[in-house]
């Protein structure tokens, strides 16, 4: 393979904002525009010089069809810059980066704006198909009699709304919601409620520490709403939580005997992360400073009812392809869909049986050193706007690697529907 090098030269994300029952002010496009605007403003090239815009988004609003195009036009990139939206559930943001990386690696593009965005609080509530059929019948009726008959076909059940957010978080084939798949993997690897809560607490504490140390502000652009409020931090972060508080929460998916609670799951949030990718040529032509390099990605499929184990397989493939061992990876961002699922991945990597039965390996590849994993917290504290998370973890991984001396890193996510995705990156240390 003689692929060209692909660099990330800049990137920002919005603070991730919790969904509090009603829609937040920002749409998916609003969030992506807010994140990308400063990136374009401080770039030495004009927005029109971008070759392509690729954005991951799982549930765009009904008026945001091909949201990537809307974002491009709203950013002032002009009508000539093409844009498309990608959907791979929880890894949509990573998929966008993967597409952009491939385009540049193949020499087909030099500057690509890529990332992910999601306004989960705005996921539409739809009429069901029976209602749609009834409406169509009424509208089609040609005469009063036919119309009366059509109207008479109305049933109260037609009013039952379809919550696209809940549907999106439920596997369409095995009919389990994502939380239940986490319960399954927790059970399989014997991960206790206390272990999950302890992991979740750590996520909040690590994020709080990162904010305290001023490590987040170069990654986050504050959001301003029309009512004069400003959001500077992920508002799902709980600095005051502790084991007692977490222990009091009731399981939300397997309500009676389960262990997965809202406290040890990722939060339903709105947010966007947008990165600027550049070819070697572009870096030289515009004198760009490089944040890091995207080396490649791997995807893997697993049992949909155990979708949380996706990263186990994707990372295994990635390591194999690049002939690396877990020790070579200086930092890993493993998206915290659920604390149980992160811990299950670690257990699976450690397990000789899993290595043998599921990965076809003689020896396990071993877990990642917890000191290298999600060092500034993860989705449990930050939130998981599904389309954006993949882009966020790559962006954060690069910045985190640079702060800690550089080297190789992996960003990986489990994907609803039973997949895993993982991307290998490299960054130089800050002083270097």
């Amino acid at each position: 393979m003689s692929d060209a090098k692909v660099y990330v030269i800049d990137g920002l994300r919005t603070p991730f904002l919790k969904t509090r029952g009603q829609a937040n002010e920002f749409s998916a496009a609003d969030l992506a525009v807010a994140a990308a605007r400063p990136v374009l403003a401080r770039a030495p090239f004009a927005p029109e010089q971008i070759d392509e815009i690729i954005v991951g988004c799982v549930i765009p609003a009904p008026d945001e069809a091909n949201v990537a195009r809307i974002i491009g036009l709203r950013l002032g990139c002009g009508k000539t810059v093409p844009a498309f939206t990608v959907q791979r559930n929880c890894a949509s943001g990573l998929q966008a980066l993967a597409c952009a990386r491939e385009r540049i690696a193949q020499g087909r593009a030099h500057l690509v704006l890529a990332g992910g965005t999601e306004a989960m609080s705005r996921a539409p509530i739809q009429w069901n198909t029976a209602m749609a059929g009834w409406l169509a019948g009424v509208l089609r009726a040609r005469n009063p009699v036919a119309r009366a008959r059509a109207i008479g076909g109305f049933r109260l059940s037609h009013l039952a709304p379809v919550y696209t957010l809940l549907l999106g978080l439920t596997d369409p084939l095995v009919k389990l919601n994502m939380g239940q798949t986490a319960e399954i993997v927790a059970h399989r690897f014997g991960i206790t409620r206390t272990e999950q809560d302890a992991y979740a607490l750590g996520s909040h504490q690590r994020l709080a520490a990162a904010y305290g140390a001023g490590q987040m502000h170069d990654e986050i652009v504050p959001l301003f709403d029309s009512r004069g409020r400003v959001y500077e931090e992920d508002n799902g972060l709980r600095r005051d939580t502790d084991m007692d508080k977490l222990a009091k929460l009731r399981p939300v998916f397997d309500r009676k005997y389960g262990s997965v609670t809202s406290g040890n799951s990722s939060q339903v949030t709105d947010g966007a992360a947008m990165l600027m990718l550049a070819s070697e040529t572009a870096v030289q032509r515009y004198g760009l400073t490089v944040l890091g390099e995207l080396l490649g990605e791997e995807w893997a499929g697993v049992d949909p009812s155990q979708m949380g184990l996706g990263p186990v397989h994707a990372v295994a493939r990635l390591l194999a392809r690049f002939a690396l061992s877990m020790d070579d990876i200086r930092k890993m961002e493993l998206n915290e869909a659920f604390a149980a699922q992160v811990l299950a991945c670690q257990a699976a990597w450690a397990s000789p049986e899993y290595a043998h039965d599921e990965l076809g390996l003689g020896t396990p590849i071993g877990p990642v050193d917890p000191a290298r994993l999600n060092t500034e917290g993860g989705a449990v504290a930050i939130g998981h706007p599904v389309g954006a998370s993949g882009a966020r973890i790559v962006l954060h991984l690069l910045r985190s690697l640079r702060r800690h001396g550089g080297g190789l890193g992996i960003a990986t996510l489990c994907i609803g529907g039973g997949q895993g995705g993982a991307m290998l990156v490299r960054a130089k240390g800050e002083s270097a």
Binding site: R37, A41, S226
Partner: protein, 681 residues
């Protein structure tokens, strides 16, 4: 058939028995109805009215407008009311000819259709307008101190109803094509691509011309006419003093009398030669001249970066984004940016209404905590705290980060550009862009020239100013420039009067009576007493102004004016001043003291060459402070009073109230008051 008509400004095409008449006034950006254009139009109508045609279509060849009105330049050449009335009669006759054609006529309207332009359209059988925001129709005559004179006031009420017609005539406001359709002012609105189709369809169908519904004409019934007039008069009085601005009252009177076209023309003739109209017209033309000056060079700004999200910085950024520029607004303080974003949203919502337009404007305005926008900026305007050291330090760092061709500007109201320029490697790129508060209302921007400012920087600054639809006025860098310097003695005198025990209500009343848009005490409170104090202190040295103790005390107490809820006035929760009923008048010459201090300072500015001529003083004070527009600005007012008379009045005041009234030596030099011949018409 070939029509052989000598009409340089009209293009005549004929197909299928229909004439398409396209107005394209030679050498002008927009079409105005000069007497030559009207004569040509008359000749054309004379030729076609005798022919068996299907119809006539009238349109404009200009990109942005249909017809913007009568030719205002010609107003200045009129010397007496008989002549003015004759001009109106001539226009009416042509339009009557148009209205009397034996076949239907259609006005195809795009862009501005104002004044005489709308009156022409009203004389057509049908009006079809382009469906967009740029198409605007109105009768703005009252803004020039007159009312419609080409039969607009006669034709409009039967078409759209009396109240709607009076609303347009009395306020001078323009409406969009969508609103015009709702009013019945136009028959149809269509996208650009269908304008001609619609015109031909109207001619082919020839439906009955539109009339207002009967109930919209009820105010014209003789029983109700009088009470309606009284009601409208009362509303007018809240907006304009009839002694200063007679035109709307005259227009209302025409309606009350159910006046004929002759009476309209007669009334117009009288107004046109009156002081108010003369002065408003000259103000308008001076404004147009400033725009022309700025347009001499195309503007080269795509991205504006504003530093400092205080009132001025935020308002400049909000305005520029509103006018289509990409803007980054930098401030380290999140709360300041949050306030600015909130304000922007409120402003765009009010002005733009449509969600997509609001979103576009909001997208163009980027709050910027780190100065990311500096890298792209073509123009940087700093509007941070009014301290020379801070500004110098900022400008120095800005210069190191921006492109070498980025224009740097300061919104300082008091610091000499020469001092700020010292911070720069290249001081020739620094120019003053001094906006006035509130930016959305005050049209003036002082373009401040420092000793080292280059001509090209000034050109770029002027061009940008015109591009955001503000008026660029050249001033020399000297303390207070023009507007603040002339205003300050007036504000100080108001405070001195208050200190002497005159009720602040009486002081403000006197100024309002004179024709100022707001009394000086209330103005000081609105601007902020802290800002007044800092400007006063800064000017006190060079201009020898004594800062009133009462101002210092108020600021020391924390009474900063409207923003703190208390200044000279105290304010209720909605921000309205609590006024005491004005009691008996004192025998102090309040108005004279207030206004003469201003005139005296204006004369000093002329003498020192802060601005080039008296017109510049007038345009600056009228557009920058709202100085009684009907008087045409301080210098035109001084001219009316006579320079000698002013000097002796000042002398008298100096004896009684102190040397601050000593007449400036400028009053003895008639050469300073000479106006440019070009503008005297």
């Amino acid at each position: 058939m070939n029509m052989d008509i000598d009409a340089a400004n009209w293009r005549i095409e004929e197909a299928d028995e229909t004439i398409v008449l396209t107005l394209d006034v030679v050498g002008q950006r927009a079409n105005a109805l000069s007497s030559v254009v009207l004569e040509e139009f008359d000749r054309i109508l004379g030729q076609i009215e005798v022919r068996p045609l299907h119809g006539l279509v009238i349109r404009s060849a200009k990109v942005n407008s249909f017809i913007v009105g009568a030719d205002v330049n010609e107003f200045q050449k009129i010397s007496d009311s008989v002549q003015a009335t004759a001009l109106a009669r001539a226009g009416q006759t042509v339009f009557n000819r148009l209205a009397g054609l034996p076949f239907p006529s259609v006005a195809l309207i795009h862009g501005n259709c104002l004044g005489g332009g709308l009156e022409l359209a009203l004389a057509c059988t049908y009006r079809v307008a382009r469906e967009d925001d740029a198409t605007r129709l109105g009768l703005p005559e009252v803004r020039l101190g007159i009312h419609p004179g080409f039969a607009g006031s006669v034709r409009l009420p039967p078409l759209i109803g009396d109240l709607a017609a009076l609303d347009l005539i009395l306020t001078g406001r323009a409406v969009s094509s969508r609103q015009a359709l709702a009013l019945g002012l136009v028959d149809e609105i269509v996208p650009d691509r269908h304008l001609m189709h619609a015109a031909h369809a109207f001619i082919a169908r020839h439906p009955r011309p539109r009339r207002a519904a009967w109930w919209k004409r009820t105010p014209s019934w003789s029983m109700v006419r009088k009470p309606v007039t009284r009601l409208l008069q009362r509303q007018l009085r809240k907006k304009a003093n009839p002694d200063h601005y007679p035109a709307p009252y005259r227009a209302l009177d025409l309606w009350r009398r159910n006046a004929s076209q002759d009476e309209e023309a007669l009334s117009l003739g009288e107004l046109m030669v009156g002081r108010t109209s003369r002065n408003l017209v000259s103000m308008f033309l001076l404004g147009e001249e400033l725009k022309r000056h700025g347009r001499r060079h195309p503007h080269d700004v795509a991205h504006l970066h504003v530093i400092g999200a205080g009132t001025m910085g935020a308002d400049i950024a909000i305005w520029a984004a509103f006018k289509g520029f990409r803007v980054s607004l930098q401030d380290p303080q999140m709360e300041a940016l949050a306030r600015a974003v909130k304000k922007a949203h409120g402003f765009y919502k009010k002005k733009l209404k449509k969600p997509v337009a609001i979103q576009d404007a909001m997208d163009r305005l980027m709050p910027d905590t780190n100065g990311d926008g500096l890298h792209r900026a073509d123009l940087v305007i700093e509007a941070i705290v009014e301290k020379a050291d801070a500004k110098c330090e900022l400008l120095r760092s800005v210069e190191s980060m921006v492109r070498p061709d980025t224009l740097l500007a300061t919104n300082t109201s008091s610091i000499p550009l020469e001092i700020l320029g010292e911070a720069l490697r290249d001081p020739s790129r620094l120019v003053g862009l001094h906006f006035f508060n509130p930016v959305a209302q005050m049209q003036l921007v002082e373009i401040v020239r420092g000793k080292q400012t280059s001509e090209s920087s000034l050109e770029r600054a002027r061009a940008f100013t015109v591009a955001i639809e503000r008026l660029p006025l050249d001033v020399r860098s000297s303390p207070g420039f023009l507007v603040n310097r002339v205003l300050m003695p007036y504000l100080i005198e108001a405070m001195t009067l208050a200190q002497e025990g005159i009720a602040i209500e009486e002081i403000d009343q006197a100024a309002m009576h004179f024709g100022m848009p707001m009394g000086p005490v209330l103005l000081a409170d609105t601007v902020g007493l802290d800002i007044c104090l800092s400007v006063a202190e800064m000017l006190s040295g060079p201009l020898g102004i004594a800062v009133p103790e009462r101002l210092r005390e108020a600021v020391a107490r924390g009474d900063l004016g409207k923003k703190s809820g208390r200044g000279f006035y105290s304010y209720d929760k909605s921000g309205k001043p609590r006024r005491r009923a004005a009691h008996g008048h004192s025998d102090v010459p309040v108005t004279e003291r207030l206004i003469l201090r201003m005139l005296n300072e204006a004369a000093a500015c002329l003498r020192e060459g802060v601005v080039s001529d008296p017109d510049a003083v007038d345009v600056g004070m009228v557009y920058g402070t709202g100085f009684a527009p009907y008087l045409g600005g301080p210098m035109r007012y001084a001219e009316a009073l006579g320079e000698v008379g002013i000097a002796s009045s000042l002398q008298r005041l100096a004896q009684e109230y102190g040397s601050r009234f000593a007449p400036d030596e400028a009053w003895g030099r008639t050469d300073l008051f000479a106006r440019r011949a070009a503008l005297r018409g």
